[in-house]
Subunit: 190 residues, 2 copies
């Protein structure tokens, strides 16, 4: 005769499975500039049946509400969670954005776009400085070094121009013409 398993025990096993995935996820979200703890927060919300309050999260993760607050802000900035509303609930509600394509490529685009822009203008500036210097300098050895540096910077510049275009591919969604989205086996999108 089969033993009846308790609701609590079953739930616990479900939690264990979820945690299995959340742990792995949180180990690798640093690629998107997110710390493991915040990744864990995201994972928890991802599996949550509905929107969560800060207190829900605090309890689920066993961490302070302060941490939840700052963590949520990071996830909001990254557009990985969104605010939710439910009538009669005074507390702020949040839920994970379920569209991974959107969430994760967005984060990727913003971070790389930003860094690339800054690097490009740093190259521009440095080249200007070197050109100025080139006009003022008298020692042949230094002139040679300047020319060499300018060449190296041009190479770097070329790379960043290329990278810029690659990022645009994601920004415009053109990438999805090249590598089409895969369909999840889910019945219907929420």
């Amino acid at each position: 005769m089969r033993s009846q398993s308790s609701y609590g025990a079953e739930l616990e096993q479900l939690e264990e499975s979820r945690n299995r995935f959340i742990s792995e996820l949180s180990n690798h979200v640093h690629l998107y500039g997110i710390t493991p703890s915040v990744g864990r927060l995201y994972g928890t919300m991802f599996f949550s049946d509905g929107p969560m309050t800060l207190d829900d999260m605090s309890e689920a993760l066993g961490m302070s509400k302060t941490s939840m607050s700052t963590g949520i802000r990071a996830l909001l900035d990254a557009n990985m969670v969104e605010r939710a509303w439910e009538k009669g609930i005074r507390k702020d509600l949040y839920q994970a954005d379920e569209d991974w394509y959107k969430s994760f490529t967005n984060v990727f685009i913003n971070r790389w776009r930003n860094a690339t822009e800054l690097n490009r203008s740093a190259i521009e500036e440095t080249k200007e400085m070197l050109n100025d210097l080139y006009a003022r300098v008298e020692h042949p050895e230094i002139i040679g070094k300047i020319q060499c540096d300018l060449g190296k910077l041009s190479d770097a510049q070329a790379y960043y121009e290329w990278l810029d275009e690659v990022i645009s591919l994601f920004e415009t969604g053109e990438i999805f013409d090249i590598v089409p989205k895969k369909k999840g086996s889910r019945k219907h999108k929420m």
Copy 2:
């Protein structure tokens, strides 16, 4: 009458320009999983006239030789620097790989490929666990949750499959057919 500027003064100005760029670079190499200090080390080698020894680096950056040793190892692992040989020099020599396309896409590919693989197998495992659980569980509520989780994981899985193909684009070099390399204005490649 024009005042003669000293060699030292000119060199110092050159260093200043270089540092301008190196600082910006080191602020953003974290996208490639490299710490600012190691980024600064890379930048220093990038501008160096020739290969450098650990002692050269140590002096140039004002840091311990131990740090240079570990830093170089990180850069070697990332394939961003290579060993160099010069006859008569007993110390190990290193130089920055000048091909930014190669250096940086490689780092990118390795990091993302690795993370994606691990995440994918975590999803697989978690789905298996959930399917097992599905067979054993008795409470309808739990069954509903499991189905919901499986759906979410399938969505995530679809995303990772897509990401995998995107990474392959870079791995195979196919990306360069889509976004062609830009040429630097350098006279001749080394």
